[in-house]
C-alpha cells in the first residue's frame, strides 16, 4: 500500500537575471528544472546534492517560501496551489513544519524558549494559556530538555540544545511532514548523533514524514528510506535508499559516494581509489546541452552532449543517464 503524503510533479523554478537600469531580463537561472518526487507517510525522502544543485529551492517551495515557476505540489492528493488562503492556513501550513540548518539564526534572540515553542500554537490555535503551557512542557520533555529551561533565552544554550528546541517548535502543531534542512551539519560531531537519534525516535513515535535536505551522504543513508540525487537543478538518480547506496547507477552518484568514502592509507595502497571528478559544477545560468553532467563525467559518449537523457526506471531506481549498466 502506498500512502503518499506529498508529491512534487515536474517542479520548476527559474529566477530572472536582469541587467541595467531597466531591469531587462537577459537570462534565467534554472534553480530547479523539472523535478518530481513522492514522500510516503512515516518515511524519509532525502534530496542530496552539492551547493547549487537546487535542493534548498525545492524545500523552500514545499514550505511555501518560494513560489514555483511551474509544477504541482500535491498534499494528500490535493493540489496545494488550488487551495484558498484559508484552506492553506488551516490545512497545509500547520501540517508542514521545518527544522533549519543553523540553530544560531533560526530563533528570535529576543524571545524566551517558552514563547518560541509556543508561537505556532498561538498563531494557529485558540488554546488557552494553560493548555499552551502544558503543551510546551510536554514538547520540551519529548526532545530531551528540562521543564525549567523554558524560561531561558536561546543564547543560553549550546548548538545541540538549540536544535532540540527547534525540533520541539516544529512538532508543536503535530505536523504530518517536517522539512529538515541540513539538520545536523552545523553541529559538533559528538552532538550530531544525539540529534539524529532523536529525529529517528520521533519519526517512529509520531509516524512523521521527513523531507531531508543534506549534502553528507552518510547522514542521508542513516536517515532515509528513499533518496534523490540532484545535479544542476535536476534529479539524476532517485529511488530506494538501500538500493541506491549499494548499487548506484548514475556516474555522478558513484562519484559522490566515492568522494565521501573513508579511504584509509592502507586501502589506498591496496588500490582502492577514489573517483575524482574533473572540474566543477557549471553555472545553472548556462547548463550544458544534453546530459548536464557530461562535462564532468568519466564515461561520457557522443550522445551525452547532444541528447537530454530521460528518467528511466531500473528496478526500484529511476536514473537519468544514457548508458546505465543494469545487472
Amino acid at each position: 500500500m502506498s500512502d503518499v503524503i506529498l508529491e512534487g510533479r515536474d517542479l520548476k523554478k527559474y529566477y530572472p537575471v536582469t541587467k541595467g537600469l531597466l531591469q531587462r531580463t537577459i537570462g534565467w537561472v534554472r534553480a530547479i528544472d523539472g523535478i518530481s518526487f513522492t514522500i510516503e507517510r512515516g518515511k524519509t525522502l532525502s534530496l542530496v546534492g552539492e551547493s547549487g544543485a537546487g535542493k534548498t529551492t525545492a524545500a523552500k517551495a514545499v514550505l511555501l517560501l518560494e513560489r514555483l515557476t511551474s509544477g504541482e505540489i500535491l498534499f494528500e492528493d490535493r493540489d496545494i496551489y488550488k487551495f484558498s488562503k484559508s484552506q492553506m492556513k488551516a490545512e497545509y501550513r500547520p501540517r508542514v513544519q521545518s527544522v533549519q540548518q543553523n540553530p544560531w539564526s533560526s530563533m528570535n534572540p529576543r524571545m524566551r524558549v517558552r514563547d518560541i515553542i509556543a508561537e505556532p500554537l498561538v498563531v494557529n490555535t485558540k488554546q488557552t494559556k494553560e493548555q499552551i503551557r502544558k503543551r510546551v512542557l510536554e514538547l520540551l520533555e519529548q526532545v530531551g530538555l528540562a521543564p525549567n529551561q523554558a524560561d531561558y533565552y536561546p543564547h543560553e544554550f549550546s548548538g545541540g540544545q538549540r536544535q532540540r528546541i527547534a525540533v520541539a517548535r516544529a512538532l508543536a502543531l503535530n505536523p504530518s511532514l517536517v522539512v529538515l534542512d541540513e539538520p545536523v551539519s552545523a553541529l559538533d560531531v559528538s552532538i550530531r548523533a544525539q540529534i539524529m537519534n532523536l529525529l529517528k525516535d520521533l519519526q517512529n513515535q509520531f509516524n512523521l514524514s521527513y523531507l531531508v535536505i543534506a549534502h553528507n551522504l552518510a547522514t542521508v543513508r542513516f536517515m532515509s528510506h528513499s533518496v534523490a540525487i540532484m545535479y544542476l537543478g535536476q534529479i539524476v538518480e532517485y529511488g530506494d535508499a538501500e538500493e541506491l547506496f549499494q548499487h548506484p547507477l548514475h556516474p555522478y552518484t558513484r562519484a559522490l559516494i566515492s568522494a565521501s568514502m573513508l579511504t584509509l592509507p592502507e586501502d589506498a595502497e591496496q588500490g582502492v581509489e577514489q573517483i575524482i571528478l574533473k572540474g566543477e559544477m557549471p553555472s545553472p545560468l548556462n547548463p550544458p546541452p544534453g546530459c548536464r553532467f557530461h562535462t564532468r563525467c568519466s564515461e561520457t559518449q557522443d550522445i551525452c552532449s547532444k541528447e537530454v537523457p530521460e528518467m528511466k526506471e531500473y528496478g526500484k531506481q529511476h536514473v537519468r543517464c544514457h548508458h546505465v549498466v543494469y545487472r
Binding site: L64, L65, P94, S105, N108, R110, L145
Partner: protein, 309 residues
C-alpha cells in the same frame, strides 16, 4: 539527559578584553561624565519651577525668566567687579536673569528635542519596517520619499513652515520632524532587510505567522538596539537645529527663553556683554557633546556591528 544551560559557555568564544587599565578608566569616564551632564540638564528642565505641581513660585530658577528689570540690565556675572551674587550669571539687555533663562531654556530646548525624537523615530521605524519587510512597490515608494526628504535642506523647510504658520513651539517641532524621520526610516529599513533574511523570520512564516505579527514580534524587537543608539546620537543634532532656527528668528518666539534665541539676543552685544551669548552656547556644547559621547558608548555597548555608522 537534560543538560544544564550553563554548559553553553564552552561554545562561546572567549571575550577578549584587550584594553589596558588606563583605557578602561577612560571608557568608564566617557560614560559617567556625559550621563551626569545630561541628567543635570534634565533635572534643570523638570525642576525649573514647580508650576506643574501648582507651585509656580518654587523651583531651581531664582527668577521669572521673562520678568524685565531695566535698572538691572546688562549686569555681568558675579565674579566680575560690577557683578553681584543676586544674578550669578548676570542679566541681559532687558535686565532678565541669565541663569533663570538658561534653566527655563533647558526645559524648552530639551522638550523640543525629545518630542522631535519621539515623533521622528516612531514614523521612521514604522515606515522603515514596512518598506523593508514588504518590499516591492511599497518599498520603492517609501524609499523615494525618504531620499527626497534627505535631500532637502532642513533649515530652509523649517523657515518656510515657520513663515507660513507663524513661529511657535509647535511649528518648531513640526518643522524639524517633517524631514527628520527619513534618517530613521533608512537605517531601520536596512536592518529590516538584514533581519528578513534571517532563518527565524522564515520559520515564523512556516508556522503561519501573519506579516503584521512578524513585523511586530520578530523584526521590531531586533531593531530596538540600533534605534536607541540613533535616538541618543540625535539629541545633540536636534539641540543645534532648534538653536539654529531660534537664532534665525524662526524658532521659539521671544520672550520665552530657548538656548538658541538667547544666543541671538546677545549677538550684537558680544563685545560688550559677552555673557549673554556665551552661557547658552556652553550649555548647547555640553549637551551636544554629552549626547554624542553617550550615544557612542551605547553603540559600543549594544552593537559592535554598527560601529561604522
Amino acid at each position: 539527559m537534560p543538560e544544564k544551560a550553563s554548559d553553553s559557555e564552552t561554545t562561546a568564544r572567549p571575550v577578549v578584553s584587550g584594553l589596558s587599565r588606563r583605557a578602561r578608566i577612560m571608557r568608564r569616564l566617557t560614560f559617567i561624565v556625559p550621563v551626569t551632564i545630561l541628567s543635570l540638564m534634565i533635572i534643570m528642565a523638570i525642576f525649573a519651577d514647580l508650576a506643574w505641581l501648582g507651585l509656580p513660585d518654587v523651583g531651581l530658577a531664582p527668577y521669572d525668566p521673562v520678568k524685565m528689570s531695566l535698572p538691572d540690565r546688562l549686569m555681568p556675572p558675579f565674579w566680575d567687579e560690577e557683578g553681584s551674587t543676586e544674578h550669578l550669571l548676570g542679566t541681559d539687555k532687558m535686565g532678565r536673569d541669565i541663569l533663570s533663562r538658561l534653566i527655563f531654556g533647558a526645559r524648552i530646548s530639551l522638550s523640543v528635542s525629545l518630542l522631535v525624537i519621539l515623533i521622528t523615530s516612531f514614523v521612521g521605524t514604522v515606515l522603515g519596517i514596512l518598506g523593508g519587510y514588504l518590499g516591492g512597490r511599497t518599498e520603492a515608494f517609501l524609499m523615494r520619499i525618504t531620499d527626497i526628504s534627505l535631500a532637502f535642506p532642513p533649515i530652509l523647510v523649517a523657515m518656510l513652515l515657520a513663515v507660513s504658520m507663524g513661529p511657535s513651539f509647535v511649528t518648531v517641532v513640526l518643522a524639524i520632524s517633517l524631514l527628520g524621520w527619513a534618517a530613521y526610516a533608512r537605517l531601520i529599513r536596512g536592518e529590516t532587510l538584514r533581519l528578513r533574511q534571517m532563518d527565524f523570520v522564515a520559520q515564523a512564516r512556516i508556522i503561519g505567522a501573519s506579516p503584521l505579527r512578524i513585523m511586530l514580534r520578530h523584526i521590531f524587537p531586533n531593531v530596538i538596539n540600533p534605534l536607541i543608539i540613533i535616538m541618543t546620537l540625535q539629541i545633540g543634532l536636534l539641540i543645534i537645529t532648534e538653536a539654529s532656527l531660534s537664532f534665525l528668528g524662526v524658532g521659539i518666539p521671544p520672550p520665552a527663553p530657548s538656548w538658541g534665541n538667547m544666543i541671538n539676543d546677545g549677538r550684537n552685544l558680544v563685545d560688550t556683554a559677552w555673557w549673554i551669548s556665551t552661557f547658552p552656547g556652553i550649555a548647547i556644547a555640553l549637551v551636544v557633546m554629552s549626547g554624542n559621547f553617550f550615544g557612542d558608548w551605547l553603540r559600543d555597548k549594544l552593537d559592535p556591528r554598527l560601529r561604522q555608522l
